[in-house]
Amino acid sequence: MSTTIRQQDLQLQGQNRLLGSLYSRNARAVIGRGLLATKSSNWLVMVSGFVEPVLYLVAMGIGLGALVGQVEGPGGQPIQYAAYIAPALLAVSAMNGAVYDSTWNVFFKMNFAKLYEGMLYTSLGPLDVALGEIFLALLRGAMYATGFTAVMGMMGLITTPWALLLIPASVLIAFGFASFGMGITSFMKTFQQMDWINFVMLPMFLFSATFYPLSVYPTAVQWIIQALPLWHGVELLRQISVGVFTAATAVHVLYFVVMIVLGMLLTTGRLRTLFLK
């Protein structure tokens, strides 16, 4: 090591980029860390994330299908109950995965493993960390969605090539939830507060036209559910699964695009207050 210190060593040059204090264009280092950590983690845990929605599809499709029979599909045509719930389960799985990764996982790494503390003492900015973590969550989500779509195919629930779009659409849904989830987690201080996330997720899972059509509810309740993101996700995937597209398809997609933009703004703003206050 040289002991000579020159003047320019002691005088740094700053750049004035947009978000310069939050972002150093190095999210890939965070992604690299995540992939390396995955190697040492339990692969069965990874696989199990894929198994859960498949179990739901098999059990509910066969068992409940026997009780329910056929229901009305997006185009008005009758479809098997299994074909009705499959896209809904995929949307739920995209939501669950993204929310888990961006809330509990982030909460743990932030408060217990102190992982982000170490990262933020380097030249990384908080936005590098956020983008890296969201990318990892979406990568995992895309893998699960591919597997689930394959299972749908094996069960004879896919009748149109449009169904391949289920995969990117699931990623879109996951992105919407993940970008918001991280911002919301930044407000959380204790495990008890984290539990409240479940209180929102559970009714959304059960009420968003996942297992039965929205027409069951009075109009006012329908409006509330139609304002929630999961319903748009379920409807979007349900339309794709049978290849029936309407003006509503564009609304569903737009809903998630807006959600991603607002979520990223929220997350970035929160990171600024949290880490640079």
Binding site: I5, Q7, L10, R33, A37, A113, E117, G118, G125, L276
Partner: protein
């Protein structure tokens, strides 16, 4: 080309203040750290040391004041400033999901360093931290001292010019502390600027060229360890214990012995330049402490003098 750098500050803080609502964690402190110096922040728990460290590290903003790290404001140019720092936080935050060597490599990636540099560098640092034989081990399996050394090795992955150490040896056994001090000394010899917080006097005396004594967010005194002792204490200290209930009463009867007297709940301290003769004076007066000890004055006494209380409570 070579300029006189001894007067050039790498860190300059002016009227630095950090308030959380009414509470001021750091209250209007100013200091300069020249390149290559080993600079200490000394104070009890909650004095504001770690907050000051986080501000220097560019991960905590300030309420008031100015902060300049190598010519840049860490709040505006966080990534650029942090790229030149090595940070050893108070609590190890190693990545438990990764192996020992991977911890170093992955951390280096955060600085955008290439693998061709990081692989040999990681091995070099493992050598430095005496952890070469543990390269493939899980972080979980390391002892406290090993984790601390790994955290320090990690902080050096980017060849930092400034190393921030927040209580580097708290919680370590004496042997592990000495090993660490030796490593830090080598870094200092290599020209790295060390900024460290501690509440151990011996550590400050061993490692710091200059230090500030901080209490309740303010600077109480500033100087080299020896100059602080000279300024705020006598050469020797006589410690007397009369038993918990009698210390205060005895202190009254000891007036006049030595230059100054401090009655603590558990003992009485007499500041004097000649401890042995002070002790003779005490026994000559017919007082018989349960134990007595003559020692050299330390920074602990400086702190006691300045704040009226002990450093580690």
């Amino acid at each position: 080309m070579h300029t006189n750098v001894s007067t050039k500050s790498v860190i300059s803080a002016r009227n630095l203040t950090k308030a959380y609502g009414e509470f001021k964690a750091v209250d209007d402190i100013s200091f300069e750290v020249p390149a290559g110096e080993s600079f200490g922040l000394l104070g009890p728990n909650g004095a504001g040391k770690s907050t000051a460290m986080r501000m220097i590290g560019g991960v905590s903003g300030r309420t008031l004041g100015e902060l300049d790290i190598m010519g840049l404001d860490p709040e505006q140019h966080g990534p650029e400033v942090r790229a030149h720092l090595g940070v050893v936080p108070q609590q190890d935050n190693l990545d438990e999901d990764l192996k020992v060597r991977d911890n170093l490599i992955v951390y280096g990636r955060y600085f955008g360093l290439p693998l061709s540099y990081l692989r040999p560098k990681a091995d070099e640092l493992l050598e430095f931290a005496q952890l070469s034989d543990r390269a493939g081990a899980k972080v979980d399996a390391l002892s406290g001292g090993m984790k601390r050394r790994l955290t320090i090795a990690r902080s050096l992955i980017n060849d930092p010019k400034i190393l921030l150490l927040d209580e580097p040896t708290t919680g370590l056994d004496p042997q592990a502390r000495h090993t660490l001090w030796d490593r830090l000394f080598r870094l200092k010899e290599a020209g790295v600027t060390l900024i460290l917080t501690t509440h151990y006097m011996d550590e400050a005396e061993q490692l710091c060229d200059r230090l500030i004594v901080v209490d309740s967010g303010s600077i109480m005194a500033e100087g080299s360890p020896s100059s602080l002792i000279k300024q705020y204490s006598t050469r020797e200290v006589l410690e007397l214990r009369f038993g918990a209930e009698r210390n205060a009463a005895m202190a009254g009867r000891l007036e006049g012995v030595g230059e100054r007297l401090e009655a603590l709940p558990d003992r009485v301290l007499i500041y004097t330049n000649d401890g042995e003769s002070a002790l003779e004076e005490v026994t000559g007066a017919g007082l018989h402490p349960i134990t007595s000890l003559v020692r050299r004055a330390s920074l602990e006494d400086v702190f006691l003098r300045l704040t009226g209380r002990s450093l580690i409570e």
